[in-house]
Amino acid sequence: MQQTQYLYNENGIGVDFSTSKLLNNKLHLKAEILSSRLGFGNGVNALKQENFILGAQYHFLSDKNLQILAGVNTGLFLVDYESAVFNVLPNSSLMFSVEAGVHYKIPNSPVSASLTVGYNLINGNGVNIPGSLFPVFYKLGVFYPIENLFCKK
């Protein structure tokens, strides 16, 4: 769940991958798709836009329940203006952002959550980047291990 400062709520789904071979579970690789179409509280006329994100995060205190994380993301931003008159405007952009926050593993539960704040270093400028790509975002992620879904213990 992502809330952009002074803009939309954009929600979606993703995967977060870590293994003992990646710095002993300290390095996490992730992929996310977030869309304003899935956002809560956006008005009916909100722009329809998607964020396709790949990222890497480093988890400090990875053996603890409460971890501190910091990472970088890249990806693709797409927006649909829904009218041909706006074909003259940019509707896609490369994304690059930095993100930091905390990750909490709920004791005696497979579920964990993260709360982060991020900054899009590439954002709309009125010239060649879509104007609805805003800089500051806050993100809440809820995680459930895939092996718990597909593997019998």
């Binding site: 008005g43 008159v85 706006f86 009125g126 010239v127 879509p130």
Partner: protein
């Protein structure tokens, strides 16, 4: 860890408590106490409610367009339309000076966006009271969300005469400079921002933008965006046209998309829109710019002609 807080806390306090004020050159800056917007000394040259105090029946049926300028600007922004109106004699131009503008830095710093808007409301009320029947509104840059807010808040419902039409020139709903979204965090530290003016713009725009007024701007455009997301319906009989430069380093062109999606005429139709092949913010104001191309002049003339034509019909 203790040392860390000993260093950090005074730094935070220092940042939070500083709110610098600019050095103002009174002789050359609108921000000072010597240069004022010309409409303050000569309202009869700028406001139709002043120079047509007792309108004839013919004048009451002549289109009047209330023109609202942008943030930190002045009535200068609409001088060229008044020149056109004086030349073709088919409509009258009422150039309002937004509240908190055209005087000095102190006034600008203290004014809210509702103060800015009040000047437009005052002129509309006066024109209505004097019996003008064909009132139009035009807003450039921040003048646009001020007018749109008058629609969304139902301001015109109290009047028997609704606006015949609304023109938005390079309206701002989203700033191109996205650091404006950080004004709440950085504003108290910076105190103000500085604008580079071209030679012909000196004394016509404020040079310094106090963080208090930048917050007001952010509040206004964020409110406008939210209202557009929910949908805004124009009063019955009110038409609208949006003109937007396709490249604009001040008012992000995505503003036009949000306005187009969020505004509907009273019978449920889309408003008119035209994306202009220009990279100038408020492309209808060419006076005072260092460089103006033939294309810029044509854009201005075409749009003024289109506005004039729409006011005739």
């Amino acid at each position: 860890m203790k040392n860390f807080f000993i260093i950090l806390l005074p730094a935070i306090f220092a940042l939070a408590s500083c709110n610098p004020t600019p050095e103002i050159d009174n002789a050359s800056m609108l921000d000072g106490n010597q240069i004022y917007d010309a409409s303050l000394a000569h309202p009869f040259d700028y406001l139709v409610s002043e120079y047509k105090n007792n309108p004839t029946e013919t004048e009451k049926n002549t289109p009047v367009i209330i023109c609202a300028h942008g943030y930190s600007a002045s009535t200068f922004e609409w001088d060229e339309l008044r020149t056109v109106a004086n030349s073709n004699q088919t409509f009258l131009v009422s150039q309002v000076l937004l509240g908190g503008h055209g005087t000095d830095y102190v006034d600008f710093k203290a004014a809210t966006w509702k103060n800015w808007q009040q000047s437009i409301k005052n002129e509309y009320q006066k024109l209505q009271d004097k019996g003008f029947k064909k009132i139009f509104l035009a807003g450039s840059s921040t003048g646009a969300p001020l007018i749109v807010e008058m629609v969304s808040s139902g301001y015109f419902e109290q009047f028997s005469v609704k606006p015949k039409g609304i023109f938005l020139i390079d309206p701002i709903v989203v700033s191109s400079n996205k650091t404006l979204t950080l004004v709440g965090l950085l504003g108290p530290v910076l105190g103000y921002t500085t604008t580079e003016l071209e030679t012909g713009e000196q004394g016509k725009w404020y040079v310094y933008r106090p963080q208090e007024s930048l917050k007001q701007l952010m509040e206004l455009i964020n409110l406008t965006r939210k209202n557009l997301e929910k949908g805004i319906v124009l009063p019955a009989g009110t038409a609208m046209k949006i003109y937007k430069s396709k490249v604009d380093a001040t008012a992000d062109p995505v503003s036009a998309v949000m306005l187009y999606k969020g505004l509907k005429t009273n019978d449920g139709k889309n408003v008119d829109i035209e994306m202009i092949d220009s990279d100038i913010h408020v492309f209808t104001r060419l006076n005072g710019r260092n460089s103006v191309s033939a294309k810029d002049i044509k854009n201005q003339q075409d749009v003024f002609a289109d506005m004039g034509s729409r006011m005739k019909n």
